[in-house]
Amino acid sequence: MPDSKLIVPAKKRISRRSALKLAGAGAAAAVAGFNPGAGFVRYAQAQSSEPIRIGFQVHRTGIGAAYGRWYERTTTAAVNMINEMGGINGRKVEIIAEDDGTDPGRGAEVVEKFATQHKCDVGFGTLFSHVVMGSAPRAGELKLPYYVVSEGHHVASGTLNRYTFQPGITDVKSQVIAMAPWIAKNLGKKVCMIYPDFAFGYDHRDYFSAAIKAQGGEVNALIPIPPTETSFTRYFPQIPADTEVIYHVMVGPAVLTFVKELGEHFGSEHPPLFGFIDSLEAVDLKSPGLEFLEGSYLWEAYPRFAGAAPQPQDVFYRSKVGVDNLGASLTDPADISTYSHMFGCWETLYIIKQAMEAAGYQGPADKAKLIEATEAITTIPESDQHPQGDKLFNGKIHQVFGHQNITQVKDGIGNVVYRTTIEEGLYEPEADYTKMAL
């Protein structure tokens, strides 16, 4: 430390010359990387054929990144199809994608960007439930119609707002209600639940506990696990001796470790496993360490393996999104898709199209008409636009109901053993968004 009384300039660590060089390099990089796509598109066509802008909130990074990748591919495929068939109300659809990092705070910022900076007509695509909880309120404040593809029960519970919809994918409450009777009848009545310690996991915990109780069964242990956990052996001693079924639903990068450690810990003496494919989305069932899953059962929204006699809609859908009959990418067999979730993007985009056409949507002034037109949708037949199956939409709770599937794993391949009816997953609506002001 200088203690002399002379005032001497401090020894320069970075000279002006090198600082200017750095700034110049930075500016050059910024210009080179500048993407004129986002919000600055110029159109060769006339002003009247401006595209419909859909803000796609995608988990490109963070713990949801595996899903984000496939959501993006499915969305691109769906939008290409829609544009090839003439777009919506004669206008092309443009997707503006923004990464929310699977982070609720960032999600709210992205929603704001869609509404104010990119001037999007709607927002769409959010998956992880905690991000939905963080982003949807902002969409409501900004009056941006917001179509999530999430599975969380938050939309249907009435805690969000009239601008938020989930019309393309069923919610956890419906899924577990549909599963409970089959589990109680075929596997056992004393269930030990292992679930992630956040909103999506709590939906499983709360609704399955109630559903299995209604079947005369009980949950004998609840084991919540942080979504970012990497080591699971420490939780297994909590599994009680009289457990008849281990129910597992895991998210995050460590799901493979979870199944592997379950196998190491229990060996062959273990209760039947009932898991949700969420534990294994984007993971090859033949991965080393997953032998433990042999014979176990999985819930799937849309079965990854096409089976011996796939429906024509499934064949069409797979060819468009680039997935083979084993659920892997056509260009890379090691790249397994998130097949039970990504169909939600395809179907939601077609719902947006259907609603916009029913409302005669021309621009943001027609927002209210768009909301009302979406709420008016009831039955959705199975088709190329809805390949997962026929569905029922409840406009009051902004949530769609559909079929669920139970798959058994044999030799690393899944075979559907049961498909539920839509009625088996219905529950009494808990709210009515249509009564809220717009």
Binding site: A65, L187, S231, A241, E244, G289
Partner: protein, 305 residues
């Protein structure tokens, strides 16, 4: 599996089997901690700089282990051995570049190093994301062997990691205590100016130590990745845990790092299993706070002169 077939394995575990499992898990955790923190302890001890990108070196080595295993034919063992060679070399080279192009330019100034290595952390993390993707990447262990206890099974590979960790720690101790290179490092750590006066090329020693620290954490990552998976965000946890170990053990003391890793690892194993992992993390962090207040130089560190 028939319906209503209860859990045959004797769960929930009685107290002693439960404790055994907790101690086994704790020992593995301690081994992992010690390995990960070793490099940081060395670097801080000799150079007195904090490398915040330490966790990213770990992540990079884990990603390389996955990539090498994919490229090398001949099964997991061949991939593992190849990764043991490739990853430390590659990460060591990156450390060398960092030291030459970054740390030397800022003259090893402590605050500037922290800021610069934070930047490096983000660069490495996002490069891994961009080039290798966001999925978790599983790496098969070089061998799978399930040790069967009467109450539960345990992975033989995890115990191998403990043995390898002990061997590595002994190796590092041997180099530090018994070789000339180790002597030079200890001298540089003790008093830089006097070392220079004795003709020791301190800058070269710094380079060597930084590279050695990175190579050590790379070896740790190659050993550990079959237990977890490689993921671009995986560097944050080892970084935090390494800091906790180094602060509690004493900056610059290998023995301190080992003792601290043992204490924290075993406590973590036992508390996680009998109570909850969150409580274990809370206690570890509180321990750091306590050490900083009561004995800032850590258990075995030198008191500030």
């Amino acid at each position: 599996m028939q319906p209503g077939h209860p859990c045959k394995a004797a769960h929930p575990l009685a107290f002693f089997p439960h404790l055994l499992l907790a101690l086994l898990e704790g020992t593995v955790a301690a081994a992992v901690l010690a390995l990960a923190a070793l490099g940081l302890s060395l670097v801080f001890g000799v150079m007195r700089v904090v490398n915040v990108a330490h966790g990213e070196f770990f992540m990079l080595a884990a990603m390389l282990a996955w990539w090498v295993a994919k490229m090398v034919p001949g099964g997991p063992l061949a991939g593992f051995l190849a990764a043991l060679v490739v990853a430390p070399l590659a990460v060591g080279f990156l450390a060398f570049l960092t030291e030459r192009l970054l740390l030397r330019r800022i003259n090893y100034d402590p605050e500037a190093t922290i800021v610069a290595t934070i930047g490096l952390l983000f660069v490495i993390q996002q490069l891994a994301l961009s080039l290798l993707g966001a999925d978790a990447k599983p790496v098969a262990a070089p061998f799978t062997y399930r040790i069967v206890f009467p109450w539960f099974g345990f992975s033989g590979y995890k115990l191998f990691v403990v043995a390898a960790s002990v061997a590595l720690l002994l190796g590092v101790w041997f180099v530090l205590a018994k070789t000339r290179f180790g002597l030079i490092m200890r001298v540089t750590q003790f008093d830089r100016e006097t070392a220079t006066a004795f003709g020791i090329p301190v800058n070269t020693v710094y380079s060597a130590v930084f590279v050695a620290g990175a190579a050590l954490v790379a070896v740790a990552a190659v050993l550990i990745v079959p237990i977890q998976q490689a993921h671009y965000l995986m560097g944050l946890d080892p970084l935090l845990m390494s800091f906790i170990v180094v602060i509690i053990g004493g900056l610059g003391s290998i023995k301190g790092s080992v003792v601290a890793a043992l204490i924290i690892g075993l406590a973590d194993g036992v508390i996680s299993m009998f109570f909850s992992p969150t409580l274990a993390s809370i206690i570890a962090t509180l321990a750091v706070a306590l050490v900083l207040v009561v004995r800032p130089q850590g258990l075995y560190g030198q008191a500030p002169r």
